[in-house]
Amino acid sequence: MDTPYPANPVVAARPAGGAVLSIDDERIKARAAAETRQDAGFRWLLFAAAGIVLLILGAAAVSMLWGGRQAFETFGWRFIVSDEWDAVGHQFGAFVPIYGTLVSSAIAMTIAIPVSFGIALFLTEIAPTWLRGPIGAAIELLAGIPSIIYGMWGLFSFVPFMAANVLPWVNRNLGEMPWIGPLFRGPPLGIGMLTAGIVLGIMVIPFISSVMRDVFQTVPASLKESAYALGSTTWEVVWNVVLPYTRSAVVGGIFLGLGRALGETMAVTFVLGNAHQLSASLLMPGNSIAATIANEFTEADSDIYLSSLIALGFLLFVVTFIVLAIARLMLYNLARKEGR
């Protein structure tokens, strides 16, 4: 062995010939086998991680369906379409909570989507670099505020403000309009669907805008700069370059926020009014699925009552699933139209 570096297989192999080579060859083979094993193990680990998600999802759905079977058996389809919720007469229908969940989330998204767009575009396209960090951090901090804080702020600060300043104006102006008038007519309690929707909207803004900001940052600068070079305005760059490039991720971000709005419990409970009444007006109190469960679970004193609450949980699951499925379908159609 005249080489000073026997540890290096390449250097060692060249002068010493076959014997050394075969030893190192085996070493390499053994190492390759170990790495293959390791890699297979890693693959299984990843499969398991993904499997856990499916397992939890499936287990949650099945156990809620099982827990709610008594309600589904007793009331059948009426459970979904009936607006009755009578713990004394044991008559339960989920229409009011389902309606309240969908309407409050719709109001929330109407507010949150444009605002989040604005925040994300400002941060990626317009804001001076020194401002991006602080505003980005502020948004992430907002996302960390517990929902009960939003609820208490909503009840003690925002509700009186709505009752005194906003709702009388809404009543006077929007309430008199044809078609949409009935939506905005009612006593200015401050507590109700509209307030709940606005609070929810404020809550989901950080989620949507931080996702949007992250994906807007992935648009290659060369694309944007080319568009600017062709004389595009900022709006044209955003509309024709940034958005098409990031569309599926943006929709994903919006639905992350929507999922949170649909399932939000504490903040909604505080400002929604928790009344099982169906009303056309957005100013009137209503109820949501999550709020109903949180309010009534501890004192559900009959089997059918408890079963109905669990069945509500299952319906929230189904509602969320349907909404997400519609989103996927929309994305799929968009992609097909583009011929991708």
Partner: protein, 344 residues
Amino acid sequence: MNRVAAPRFFRLCGLLAAIALGSMGQSALATDVTGAGSSFVYPLLSQWSSDYASATGTRINYTSIGSGAGIAQIKAATIDFGASDKPLPSAELAQFGLAQFPIVIGGVVPVVNIEGVGPGDLRLDGDTLARIFLGTITQWNDPAIVALNPGRKLGADPISVVHRSDGSGTTFNFVNYLTKTSEAWRSKVGEGTSVQWPVGVGGKGNEGVAAYVKQIKNSIGYVELEYALKTNMSYTAMKNHAGNFVLPGLESFGAAAASANWADAKDFDLIITDAPGAQAWPIAASVFVIVYRQPKDAARSKAAFEFFRWALEQGQARAKELNYVALPKPLVQSIEKYWASEIK
């Protein structure tokens, strides 16, 4: 670095272990009694528990999980006693081998938020209250309210009703009173720990109702007296069964408990709303303790009953401090007689 830290670390572990063992030893000496249920009685029970622990060393662990959950837990025998704002019927008690007795009296008060109306200013009766909560009386200057309040100026403001959104013993006693005094309420809504409210918004817990009533002008809700006093709300005077207007308070709650017909109530299954006494508050409520007739663990059961005896005989002064009403003497005697005859 590690070598230096290791002995210190072990020493710390040893110290922690010693502390843990020490506290375990202590808790093993005294018999712990566990109970759960009514949130109404929680402030009093936790005060009693600390008084009793310092006097005797026996600890009472009480969790405030709501009356319904308390009943479910005692039926499942996971606790030594349950506490409920609503009595169980005798037949149900017999079915599960349970016994029950009242431990303390409280009361529910209607509270209003009307400009210029202070505590005790507004007078209502059961039927009017029921019609407000049914939504058939919609304005504060309704003839029925005006007739009860001669000389008081009430505006044509729309009434906003606030009720509990969660099931509760408070709701149970309140709607039980409405059921007793209003035929319309009985047939349309009925009674229970949560009911189908015809109108209004729901607040979670006493504090939720109190917050809503404070937020919404011209609203009416109902809370336990303690909350009305603590948050300076305007409670109403009520016309009782005897036809007198009474204010909520320890005396009128006590009068309700004293005038109620406990003697004929098997297993103390009696709701003391709409009590006949001349000065009785019409929406008084008792909290019931539910135990096993044939205890599964004799030592713990004995400890629990020593605590209840202490609570009924010596703890009642403390109850008064916290705005609960002591049980009338004859009732305490009949409870002790009940223990002797019913509990093994």
